[in-house]
């Protein structure tokens, strides 16, 4: 990334470099969006649908999205399934092993909020966004592969707003809702439900 960072920063400073940078951004965003390789972080039920998604019937290879078991080769981590306290360090570590730029799709209610395991349990993390920056949430228990397909296509739109210079956004109109700050404080959520 160092090379790209330097290139991007240099272009940003050079007069007239902005034009090149913008064109480069457009090319890169297109190429990144069309080749989102998945890190299948399947832990529970949703993993079955994640497998189904890249298999014969749904075939995500059509969108240029293939599952790679090695985090080093992946662009988007699909967290499919319940994340427990024992599992969370491993997930975080795998996320850190992925090279930038990287994205996260939280697939299924468990990864979004804990889902059915929200109440009464001592070991489940309520939503993977407690420790990972999630880009796209898919609800469902489990979501159908079509929903994951939609998520990949939505993620493409979001990728289109990125720039190769860190901290710089391409101003594009997006229909995606911007995610708020990560949901913290489980007790507050519980109070809300009680009322």
């Amino acid at each position: 990334m160092a090379f790209v960072d330097d290139l991007g920063a240099a272009l940003d400073k050079t007069p007239g470099g902005g034009i090149i940078l913008t064109s480069l951004d457009a090319v890169m965003d297109w190429s990144r969006g069309k080749s989102l390789w998945m890190m299948p972080m399947g832990t529970a039920c949703c993993a079955m649908e994640l497998i189904a998604a890249s298999f014969s019937r749904f075939d995500f290879d059509r969108h240029g999205s293939i599952p790679r078991p090695d985090p080093r080769h992946c662009d988007v981590m699909v967290v499919a399934g319940t994340i427990t306290r024992k599992m969370a360090p491993a997930v975080k570590r795998l996320y850190e092993q992925m090279p930038d730029p990287k994205w996260v799709i939280a697939m299924g209610n468990c990864a979004v909020s804990g889902g059915i395991f929200y109440y009464d349990t001592y070991s489940v993390i309520r939503g993977v966004d407690e420790f990972l920056p999630v880009d796209v949430y898919i609800s469902g228990c489990p979501p159908r592969p079509e929903a994951l397909q939609d998520a990949i296509l939505r993620l493409r739109e979001q990728v289109a707003t990125d720039s190769i210079v860190p901290g710089r956004d391409r101003q594009l109109n997006t229909i995606l809702p911007t995610p708020g700050s990560p949901r913290k404080g489980d007790s507050a959520a519980a109070d809300g439900d009680d009322s």
Partner: protein, 315 residues
Amino acid sequence: MTLLWGFLWGVAGMTVIAVGAILGVWWERKVAARIQMRYGPQQIGPFGSLQMIADVPKLLFKEDIIPDSADKPIFKYAPLFVFGPIAVSMVVIPFSAGWAPLNTSVGVLFFLAVPSIEVIAILLSAWASHNTLSTLGGIRATAQMISYEVPRSLAVLAIVLLAGSLRPLDVVDAWRWWWLPLTFIAFLIYFIASIAEMNRGPFDIPEAESELVAGYFADYSGMRWASFMMAEYGGMISASLFGAALFLGAGWPFTGALGVVALIVKTIALMTIVMWVKWTLPRLRQDHLMSFCWKVLTPLALVQLVIVGVVLPWL
């Protein structure tokens, strides 16, 4: 002057391999998809043929991770040394009767020897990653590639014996169609040993996806990983080209430009068979792999040599 030409041919070889790898990856994804009742890439270009146009810039601009515990200089440059020998080996391939980029009298030997340097680079990259799975993959790769050199060379020797020359162009000139049935065993051995040399299924033990995750290149990301992939596809292309040129008579039955087309068609057919085999068969285990090499392929290659040796005086 010779050096300059050599350099130019090297660059040309690299370009051929890079382009070939890009098309090869697409072709493989399509072939695999057809075998698996899927469609494969569809969205970019006709039949998704430009999918790699999206993948390559993405990999180029990925973060280049170098693990903290890795042996940094070796880790950084090992991919080059994996890719280099394969690209260099392209220069001796006789593309058509009377035309090879580099017409040398030890061409066959050169082709067998130079790509084998790859094994050192693989071992280095595996070792430098400082990762148990990578190291296992590297060691497996070393054992496998060194062993399979033997039947592969013996198989080529049968052809060399018939042609009476180590110069690839002489071999192509001397080639007659009845060599095909005569050296069929040698061709099969060459083909199987080449699959093992390029670490492809069912001999993809060093990178066994379900065991070692990705084997020796498990810690490489971005372009460095892509150069491993390029080396793999380059190896596939060069081995198929060489096999088609030596065993299948290069441009036979055509000559000239049509002959080059024929050679390319044969190469693509061979590559497709390599992919077909990979996506159909399960993976071998190391001990099976070794016993297959030493107990089946090597004796068979010797038998082939004997057959050729018996026939030779009667020609």
